[in-house]
């Protein structure tokens, strides 16, 4: 089966092949900017022909931006449901984009670290991401990309309210920065709820791994800013960064406490996770996430070779339902998926050595 997005799935991408930059606790940093063209209705209020016009204007500008080296452009209307879901699972498009069809699409750069969605809730949702904790670096990339696009496109902007967006909750900077964190220590020690509450109180949001409405399987959470007006981009990023550092320290402390007070229980869970991933024959995507999460924790504890962490990050994505369907080369039922997912895991874990329980430490 030849897919339009084959090359994207087969290529080495930022989120799946970053051996050196994969670090404990923080999976990736992502920033998006919402932008609209002046003189055009927002996508929700736009006629089909007008949306197509906006798509073309945007597509040309994005493809020629220097930050978008070797771009791939896909229109949502040209993709199967499975292909659309694969793009969501790779964090290249939002679940909202694949629900809309009229003139919507995405332009993705060569290493899949930048993706610009067209005709989502706003005309443009510019996104940039990197493995690890890099708010400053991602900001400078996306700031430059935004400048390049702005040379070609006339953005709707008011001196008072900043960049104008379909929803007033994005007006101003149009910026949402989110950092994906792996927090098994806080979940196991039952402190996650407290963290969520504290983070909410300072105007930040915590979501599950696939964004709004997704669950928190694998102990992976996204923490992001919610407010966009009245603060500069730098101030928003600084505040978010400070909170994330605090959460990271809390997670480190929780992990040390678990190793000190309940070592056998956590080593048992990591050991069993390894056993199942290496030998299991049926694996749901939720269980897969939980087991991979324990392996990542084990890698952070020094129980597995260092590059195991990057393997886990890749498998987090490649063991999601649509990616497994891609492996099967057809749309298969969930039971068949579970069996295929298990065999995919066995293959990937064949060469991972037994956990080194002796060296477990934080």
């Amino acid at each position: 089966m030849q897919l339009k997005i084959d090359s994207l799935i087969r290529a080495d991408s930022e989120l799946t092949h970053q051996n050196t930059s994969s670090v404990p606790i923080i999976l990736m940093t992502r920033i998006r900017l919402a932008r609209n063209l002046s003189g055009h209705n927002f996508p929700n209020h736009s006629e089909v022909e007008k949306s197509a016009e906006v798509f073309e204007l945007c597509r040309k500008a994005i493809e020629s931006a220097p930050e978008m080296g070797s771009p791939t452009t896909v229109r949502m209307e040209d993709l199967s449901t499975m292909e659309k879901k694969i793009l969501v699972e790779r964090h290249l498009v939002s679940p909202e984009l694949i629900e809309s069809t009229a003139g919507s699409g995405v332009v993705i750069n060569g290493d899949q670290s930048c993706a610009v969605m067209i005709n989502e809730e706003d005309h443009l949702r510019i996104q940039s991401m990197l493995t690890g904790f890099h708010l400053d670096k991602v900001w400078s990339t996306i700031d430059a990309l935004d400048d390049s696009l702005e040379k070609k496109l006339d953005f709707a902007y008011s001196e008072e309210l900043g960049f104008l967006t379909a929803c007033p909750s994005n007006v101003g900077t149009g910026l949402r920065a989110s950092v994906m964190m792996h927090l098994p220590g806080l979940v196991i020690s039952k402190n996650m709820e407290k963290v969520i509450r504290a983070v909410n109180q300072i105007g930040l949001v915590v979501r599950g791994w696939m964004g709004e409405g997704s669950d928190a399987s694998g102990s992976v959470f996204q923490i992001s800013n919610q407010q966009t007006l009245g603060e500069s981009e730098e101030a928003i990023l600084k505040r978010l960064g400070n909170v994330l550092k605090t959460v990271r320290v809390q997670e480190e402390n929780a992990r040390s406490r678990i190793l000190q007070t309940d070592q056998n229980r956590i080593l048992d869970r990591i050991g069993r996770a390894y056993g199942i991933l290496r030998n299991g024959h049926l694996l749901s995507s939720g269980e897969g996430m939980s087991l991979l999460s324990l392996i990542r924790l084990g890698a952070d504890f020094g129980m597995f070779p260092k590059d195991t962490r990057c393997l886990v990050d890749r498998l987090f994505i490649e063991s999601q339902p649509a990616h497994v369907q891609y492996l099967a080369e057809s749309e298969i039922e969930s039971a068949a998926r579970d069996s295929l997912r298990a065999s995919f895991m066995r293959k990937n874990f064949r060469d991972i050595p037994e956990p080194d329980f002796e060296s477990a430490s934080t």
Binding site: N36, S38, G39, H40, N41, F42, N44, H45, T81, E99, E121, D143, D146, D147, E150, K151, D154, F155, A156, Y157, S158, E159, E160, L161, G162, F163, L164, A166, C167, P168, S169, V171, G172, T173, L175, V187, I188, K190, M192, E193, I196, N200, G203, V205, G208, E212, G213, S214, D215, A216, S217, Q226, Q227, T228, L229, G230, E231, S232, E233, A235
Partner: protein, 169 residues
């Protein structure tokens, strides 16, 4: 395409999806906007931004008694209240009477403090001047003041040159 999730309370299409972790247990609810306040879990959750947005729109509307409709896209109070979204960039102007009230509920400030589109501002600055000059030029031609027209045409060309220069830099 997957069927949209239904509200756990009334079965209408759900627009709010919450996940909560209590003592390692994961609990999920799907709610429609009307039922968001009925749910015990939603009460725990930070739904404020959404609730505040809806409240802000209503309050602002009630306070002023004004009626708004955007002359450019036709978006009116009713459609804004329903979707929480504007129809086009000009709506911010058309709804100027209630925009501050809406924003006060969901944003920490009312003034943009972030970056501005440099090229866009240059374009806008020159755009305004070009419109003025073109008007002068047209009326000069109409009134057969050809010497003046030539001057305006020159100025317009120079202005375009300066604009191209400014955008380049």
């Amino acid at each position: 395409m997957a069927k949209p999730k239904q509200c756990d309370h009334c079965g209408k299409p759900a627009t709010i999806h919450l996940t909560q972790i209590v003592g390692g247990e994961i609990r999920k609810v799907d709610l429609c906007e009307a039922c968001q306040f009925k749910d015990s879990m939603a009460a725990d959750f930070d739904l404020k931004p959404f609730a505040k947005l809806a409240d802000g729109v209503l309050a602002a509307h009630n306070n002023t008694g004004e009626v708004h409709a955007c002359p450019v896209c036709g978006c009116d109070d009713n459609s804004f209240q329903k979707s929480g979204r504007f129809g086009c960039p000009d709506c911010y102007e058309a709804f100027a009477g209630i925009v501050p009230e809406v924003l006060r509920n969901i944003q920490p400030g009312l003034r943009h403090e972030g970056k501005s589109p440099e090229v866009g501002l240059v374009r806008r600055h020159f755009g305004r001047k070009k419109v003025e000059l073109r008007k002068e030029l047209e009326s000069a031609i109409r009134e057969e003041r050809f010497e003046a027209a030539a001057v305006y045409r020159d100025q317009l060309r120079k202005l375009e040159g300066r604009e191209a220069n400014a955008i380049e830099n």
